[in-house]
């Protein structure tokens, strides 16, 4: 997945458009525009509108009640906790992996790059199942965990593990191309000037990658909060205890409590929209920086 910021280079497209030699006939332009816009409206915009209309169908009071419900509050708390633990961990891992891959030569580099992509290509359900196989009561470490009274599956640790797994690639994937493009020269200059390794990282490397890093963290966070499949398998759906927001939505929906289900869903949708806003801001910052 390449999450590099898409940049619309206005001046270039206008020049391309104005020139009769390079311009496509108008019908091609409008056909392509029509296809992409109607696709967007039908598959992206419509469901989003549906979520909010359904959520507000029975009035604001019911909408509000859906959040103040104890189970909903605990789901929100759990989702935030899981994100709060897994995102920083993946931040550290992502920076370390990107650093190792771009600044060092070592055997097995290609394998590491492939493994970073694994969570993208594997179904989240399988991730959940594999965690159950390893940490479940009948799993490899099951007996030991029971003997020591540690609960992983059907508890917070399992949810965090599943979240970490699925959000594993975001930060690293974002940083690797960026750090590759920047090369090693500034770091070399820093070391020659007498800076220690951590000083070089803190004063030279980090400022150069901070926007890319933030971008990766935002995407990582969005996925951490929205993950359903892997978490669903390991959570056990215990109300008020191991239900995250997406799982809570499912439960409410299965109980035909549609307005509450959509209300909670709208919260997730709002979170996604907020993520998009921050993401656009960061993209804007990145493009401004690269134009400087």
């Amino acid at each position: 997945m390449s999450t590099l910021a898409i940049q619309t280079n206005a001046s270039q497209t206008t020049r391309f458009e104005k020139n009769t030699a390079t311009r496509e006939p108008n019908w091609v332009k409008y056909l392509l525009l029509g296809i992409s816009l109607s696709f967007f409206a039908l598959f992206l915009l419509l469901p989003l509108i549906a979520v909010f209309t359904e959520a507000l169908r029975k009035g604001l009071e019911t909408y509000w009640l859906a959040f103040t419900d104890a189970d909903a509050l605990s789901a929100i708390a759990l989702t935030l906790t899981a994100a709060l633990i897994s995102v920083p961990l993946n931040l550290i891992f992502g920076v370390a992996a990107a650093w190792a891959i771009t600044k060092f030569e070592f055997k097995g580099k290609q394998i590491l790059i492939t493994f970073i992509d694994l969570p993208f290509s594997i179904s989240p359900v399988i991730v959940g199942l594999s965690l159950v196989l390893v940490f479940g009561v009948h799993g490899w470490f099951g007996e030991w965990l029971v003997a020591n009274d540690i609960k992983v599956i059907f508890a917070l640790p399992g949810i965090v593990l599943a979240t970490i797994f699925v959000t594993f690639p975001f930060v690293a994937r974002e940083l690797i191309p960026l750090m590759q493009a920047q090369g090693k020269e500034e770091e070399e200059a820093s070391i020659v000037l007498g800076a220690k390794g951590w000083q070089t990282f803190w004063y030279v490397t980090l400022p150069n990658i901070k926007w890319g890093l933030l971008y990766g963290v935002i995407l990582c966070n969005a996925r951490a909060m929205g993950e359903f499949g892997a978490v669903s398998v390991v959570s056990g759906h215990i109300r008020g205890e191991t239900n995250t927001l997406p799982l809570h939505v499912e439960i409410l929906y299965n109980e035909y409590n549609f307005s509450a289900a959509f209300a909670v869903a709208s919260l997730l949708a709002l979170l996604a929209l907020l993520t998009l806003v921050i993401k656009s801001y960061v993209e804007h910052k990145i493009s401004k920086k690269s134009n400087a």
């Binding site: 020269e185 070399e188 200059a189 020659v192 000037l193 007498g194 800076a195 004063y203």
Partner: protein, 365 residues
Amino acid sequence: MSINVKNIHKQFGEFTALDNISLDFPSGELVALLGPSGCGKTTLLRIIAGLEQADHGDIILDGENASNTHVRDRQVGFVFQHYALFKHMTIFDNVAFGLRMKPKAQRPSESKIREKVFSLLQLVQLDWLADRFPAQLSGGQRQRIALARALAVEPRVLLLDEPFGALDAKVRKELRRWLRKLHDELHITSIFVTHDQEEALEVADRVVLMDHGKVEQVGTPEAVYNHPQTPFVYSFLGSVNVFHGRAEQEYLKVGSEQLRHHNESYGHAKEVFAFARPHELKIVDNSHHEGVSARISRILSFGIETKVELDGLNENSGQHYEVHLSQQQREAQSLLVGQEIKLVPSTLALFPREAVALQPSEKEG
């Protein structure tokens, strides 16, 4: 501080970047490492700095073996071809970086740092740019800042990797003169890498010519230019005419023609390369019994000298020659494009024709 390089060898897979190099750089000199790209000059510079590790051999700084000393403890100043300024810092912060990174015990106070940075910025004549960012500076200004930054930590030696390589011709010339002046003021032992012979000859006290990971010749600019010791140096420094022939007694047989040479030691029949600079060739009439036949293809007569370009004839077709004539010589002879004449060298330098590559290699360095 002196630098001694002892038996340095560096291999990149199959490619030998440095083949058992030993060199001495005396204290206070400005030395140029000159050679075509891929000759190993940048690798050697990076090994001296500690940015690269030699396969074997030693780097001795000031009489002390520094081969296993970490880069940050070698106290070298390094200037990169593409400046490598810290993009997110102001010019002031860039120059102050080395001082601010010192361990607390050795770190000067912020006011001392300020003083030092401004004196360095004045030295490179750019103190008015202190608050700008690198992106707002021209290439020449950036390279001067990079130099100021390297000097801030008071390095014992200064290493410059193609310092003017990314600049346009005019700025390059200016900076060259400026670097020489700066060196005359500071007298810090400096090595700079370049592939530009003019730059090396103009700026350096001594020139080290390298090719294919080997040192070809070391000497003052005058010595290496006037007395090249190898075919490579001959063909790399300045333009030169080459004759492929066989040395016999006092004559050099070039195909069916012959030239007189004055190297008695080449008495036996030997395949040789013979070199002559453009001003060492005379153009004589076609009826002359000595000389190599050629046809004039172009006459360029701007400037003080007239440049005559010629194409070889008979066995030498495909060969090109160049002759430089003074204005008087030019006026004494009537030369026309297309005219067939003979070339006679006033002196010839002969080298046995073994498997010497005359063309510089084209690998990346």
